[in-house]
Point group: C2
Chain length 498, copies 2
Amino acid sequence: MNAALGELRQRLGEITDLVRIQSLQYWDLEVWMPPRGQDARASQLATLEAIIHARQIDERIGELVEELEPHAASLPYDSDDACLVRAARRDWEKLRRIPNELATELARAGAESYQAWVSAREESRFETFRPHLERMLELKLRLVECFAPYDDPYDVLLDDFEEGMRTDEVRAIFARLQPEITALVAEHAATTDEDDFLRGPFSVPQQELLSRELIGRFGASWDAWRLDLTVHPFAVPFGPGDIRLTTRYSETDLNSLFTAMHECGHGLYEYGVSPSLDRTPLGTGASSALHESQSRLWENVVGRSLPFWRWFYPRLQDAFAEQLGEVSVERFHRAVNRAQRGFIRVDADETTYGLHVILRFELEQELVAGRLAVKDLPEAWNARFFELMGLEVPNDRLGVLQDSHWAGGSFGYFPTYLLGSVLSVQIWEKALEALPDLDEQMERGDFAELHAWLRENVYALGRKLTPAETIDRVVGGPIDPEPYLAYLRGKLSALAAA
Amino acid sequence: MNAALGELRQRLGEITDLVRIQSLQYWDLEVWMPPRGQDARASQLATLEAIIHARQIDERIGELVEELEPHAASLPYDSDDACLVRAARRDWEKLRRIPNELATELARAGAESYQAWVSAREESRFETFRPHLERMLELKLRLVECFAPYDDPYDVLLDDFEEGMRTDEVRAIFARLQPEITALVAEHAATTDEDDFLRGPFSVPQQELLSRELIGRFGASWDAWRLDLTVHPFAVPFGPGDIRLTTRYSETDLNSLFTAMHECGHGLYEYGVSPSLDRTPLGTGASSALHESQSRLWENVVGRSLPFWRWFYPRLQDAFAEQLGEVSVERFHRAVNRAQRGFIRVDADETTYGLHVILRFELEQELVAGRLAVKDLPEAWNARFFELMGLEVPNDRLGVLQDSHWAGGSFGYFPTYLLGSVLSVQIWEKALEALPDLDEQMERGDFAELHAWLRENVYALGRKLTPAETIDRVVGGPIDPEPYLAYLRGKLSALAAA
């Protein structure tokens, strides 16, 4: 039994190494690679993916799991070994349905497509990106067919990010959220602009300094973390002591602070996984929605709260005395929470954000179901955006080309952002039960107890349990949109009354 | 035949991909990785090396080569395919002598050892590095034994950098060089310092700008090249359109300009390999000495020449008017060529540089022969350094800890620097035959014809021929120290007379 477990752990450990090596390849592609490095990189990613996938579906893993299952069943359900055997079984069963050639081709096409997206976005020209997106969608549809029969083709894609969740569950949650959010936006969206002080100019080096200071206080430790620049911000771990965040800066707003807090939330999750799970498929976050619950919690529930700004705002005023010296903390807090219709998802306020996600979720389903062709996507985007937000999209850069997800083939990711927002409030309520003076702690700039509570109750678990099991363990029930709606309503009413 | 060739090319192409992936792992380790990323990175490097090595020694490669050799023999000797089959045979025969476990362990230990070296150098504390160096040496000695019987154990290590060259050949060349260089240094080394203007301060951003401008003029193209910062500068390609150089800056000297030109030489070599050789084991420089011939050519034969500075010095004076405004180009040129005894190899002038290399070559041989223990290395270094240079080494940072090579297990690399200097002059003489007005071109800041000549006559060949064959093809004979000595003598006499 020990021999089998040892062999399984070794095989999964090597796969983990290779996946992290692949992550570095992608990270470098987005952060540093010169444009003409693209062909060689696409070839490298394809070669590596072929090796990873072949190892993931190796028959020997199936044999070892088979051998270990009786032993695992005799262990406590949430022991590391029992969880490892269960996850290994699920991953192996799932991945072996995918032909190696398809997995490889997805890696190659994704790298090529990413570069095309960067150019297309820069030129604001969808046509540059279109053939690549068509290719990615075609490959993804071939992937979907590997899992036939299915209730909904989108289920297959969603499963890569939110294992076990069904599209109709997401639809039900979003159906509850959408009219409420739309009503909140209608009620609270600013008709006139009183927030000129948020337009800067804010020096980029100062923004970087503040970003680092902030997330350092949250728990990022610079002997194990990095913060670099990309077109589209993200977070990725290469090991328990190597957490990479990326961000971007604009002189004309302070969004970089929220981006840094968002990516820091992802980083803290990975950083907090129990060391006993390292180099196993359990040594990472449980799902995208759980991951987004942490990015959104640190970005919004913490980072757009009044207690937080009571602590940090004087520091911000020091840095930008000219722009903010005369602006009170209450006014600043109101401004960064104002419901405001805008084009860019990642720059959206907490309330309208949900509408951006719902738009993408709907379009993805139509693409996957074949009801919408890629060539008609910009038009469909703009039309639906107008319905949801009441704004005419002026160009593709501010519309369909703004996000990198589809370029990399990540269809099915978007809904997890809003699910994450929903979950973040459920988790926050649990944290508040344990730490009733959280507001006072934040006003002192003290995040140690919050970080410790989250680490102990969420992060340490890693991927030991399924997403649904993890959520149940943390919040004592399923995903529930009501606390999130109550939180939004409460916050906006308080701001309106102030 | 076509099928066999296709399969061989595919296998070698995938190995090339994996080696470049590994190069990115090492590059990131030195450029960006936070210190606590070390354990995960060492594990990743070991896992990847095990895969690469297993593929390199796959029996199937031997079978394919066997099948293709008659066909290859019927082709012109220097046709791509004939060269590919020959190199594949040599690489396969060589690498299969090394057990996979040893190759893997070398990769893991090298990564760990590199980090220990960085810390040890920072603290100037050899003891921090000692156990790692002992481990690397022990592993390297196990590697040497894989190639028994041998004439000289050092031959085995040298072969990794200068395939086919024997230690006694190097010794003979160095025996000719050492007394001559020592005499030149004794005659020309400055006893008093007249070069205070070289001490700065020189703003680092300005140095970076100048470095980029310079190597851009040499042929670096920023859509395919990068220049980043490391403790120890190096150059590495990840593909024909992805050339990475690293450098370092100090406010108190202008060495960064020479470092940039040096690494650019390496980069131009890789950048100029014939595209038909990409993704094969021939798609890289022919050997370390040939590589260093190019780094040293651009750094010294070009970069320390008076015509070059007649072009670039006004630009330098613009950037550093306060320090250099009153200094003539002749005086500046004399200063950057002054033979001056110093501690750091990479900061050495062109003449004393050879003595730094000879020191390392001798110590390496003693370590490998077991005549010198690692624990006694600092003492041996300092004693031998005093003999060669007449200087007391004040600390290990300025002594035995200055170079990263041994940390990574690169015993046998050092002699190729001096062989490269020797070769650079032989190659320069050939270039001058073809382009008699090179001096005038350099005075105009025009390096296009030189770059084109080198690309056509050296770079494009890649590794199609053995190092000795390549050298013979380029300069019409073997490595010969006489032109180099004549060049040094001529340069120093002219400077002394001026």
